[in-house]
Every structure is written in structure tokens, then in C-alpha cells.
């Protein structure tokens, strides 16, 4: 679960009461699943 410099630079400080203002970042090493269609 590695966060790179670009990801960390894009984050913003939390708002009032500690509510996060940035979306949860996606780690650089998280791979997207490859959806393969099954041959019919």
C-alpha cells in the first residue's frame, strides 16, 4: 500500500471536526482487476 509523492501532494487538510476533504487515495501498487469474458 504505497502512496507516491504525487498522491501525497494532492491531499488537502481536513475540514472542521476532522472531516476529510480529499477522497481516499488509491495506492500506486493497487492493481485493477482484469475482467476477461469467458469464451462461449
Amino acid at each position: 500500500m504505497i502512496y507516491t509523492k504525487e498522491t501525497l501532494l494532492a491531499l488537502e487538510p481536513a475540514g472542521p471536526h476532522g472531516v476529510p476533504t480529499s477522497p481516499v487515495p488509491i495506492p500506486a501498487d493497487r492493481t485493477m482487476p482484469v475482467i476477461r469474458s469467458t469464451p462461449s
Binding site: 502512496y3 507516491t4 501532494l9 488537502e12 487538510p13 476532522g18 488509491i26 495506492p27 482487476p33
Partner: protein, 167 residues
């Protein structure tokens, strides 16, 4: 020698079963009083929830529980959450790649590769600044050690899962 945590269930003990009355032996009154308390709480909470949901009485709290994650408790301003790198006015990172955070990190989860900054007044800038959150223990030593106040843990992001793979 008896343990102080061991109950003395002897006839001399007033809690001994031979000294209890008939109703107390059946525990009927105690069971009914417990059911009374549970029922009172149940109907009070249901009435409050009905006022809040059906009759839209905003002063009546709908539930005593917090509807996480739609509703959250207010976090302390001292809470250490996900790190962020602070930018300069020109948008470049404030970090000067001094390696203080990487050195002080007890979990060895920070990896920095330094390079030259185009501005001659700034010696270095990180070419890579990676944090492995799988190793981080959120001790905050990196924030304390940074001489440039370039890294902070004030994003408020605590959950590193998301509702979709796109974030």
C-alpha cells in the same frame, strides 16, 4: 487461605440460598424488574426515533448510535491521520529531501530519492517520496522531525478502503 475473589457461599453469608425468600429464590422479581428497564428503554428509543423520522422533530435524536460511515464523531485536532506533503506557493513540494523523516521513521516506511532543484536557493527536492502505509505505525515522528514543516498528518483520512476501485 481463601482468595479475595472467591465468594463465600456459606450459611453465614447473607447471600446464601437458604437465607433468600421464596420470591428471591425464583429470581422472578429481579427478572421482571430487568424486563421493565429494558422495555422502558426500548419504547423510549422507539418514540424518539418515530418523532425524528416520521414527525421530523429535529430536536429529538433519531438513534443513540452513530450511523457510521454516513455520520462520524468529531475527531480531535491532534488526530494523526494519513500524511500529506505541503506545497509551496508555486506548487512545488516544500520538502527539501533532507532525509530526516526517512531516518527517524521506526517502521522504515518512507523512501526518498533526492534530486537537484531548479531554483539555486533550494538545494534539493524529492524526486520520489513514497510512504508504505502497510508498514506505517502512525507515530508522527516524521512530522516532528521535519525542519521545513513539509509533511503533516491532518488529512482526516483514516480508512484506506473505498467503496469502489476508482476511489
Amino acid at each position: 487461605m481463601t482468595s479475595p475473589y472467591q465468594s463465600s457461599n456459606t450459611p453465614a453469608d447473607p447471600r446464601h440460598s437458604s437465607r433468600l425468600g421464596l420470591a428471591q429464590r425464583f429470581y422472578l422479581l429481579e427478572v421482571l424488574s430487568g424486563l421493565k428497564l429494558t422495555g422502558l428503554r426500548f419504547f423510549a428509543n422507539m418514540a424518539r426515533h418515530t418523532l425524528h423520522t416520521v414527525f421530523r422533530v429535529k430536536s429529538a435524536h433519531g438513534a443513540v448510535t452513530i450511523q457510521y460511515p454516513d455520520e462520524r464523531r468529531p475527531y480531535s485536532p491532534r488526530l494523526r491521520s494519513l500524511h500529506r506533503l505541503v506545497r509551496r506557493d508555486d506548487g512545488s513540494p516544500r520538502c527539501v529531501a533532507c532525509m530526516m523523516c526517512e531516518t527517524v521513521c521506526p517502521a522504515h516506511c518512507i523512501y526518498i530519492v533526492a534530486t537537484e532543484h531548479p531554483n539555486p536557493e533550494i538545494e534539493k527536492v524529492p524526486e520520489r517520496f513514497d510512504i508504505d502505509l502497510g508498514k506505517c505505525v502512525f507515530c508522527g515522528y516524521c512530522v516532528e522531525a521535519c525542519p521545513e514543516d513539509a509533511i503533516r498528518m491532518d488529512t482526516g483520512i483514516l480508512e484506506f478502503s473505498s467503496f469502489s476501485r476508482g476511489g
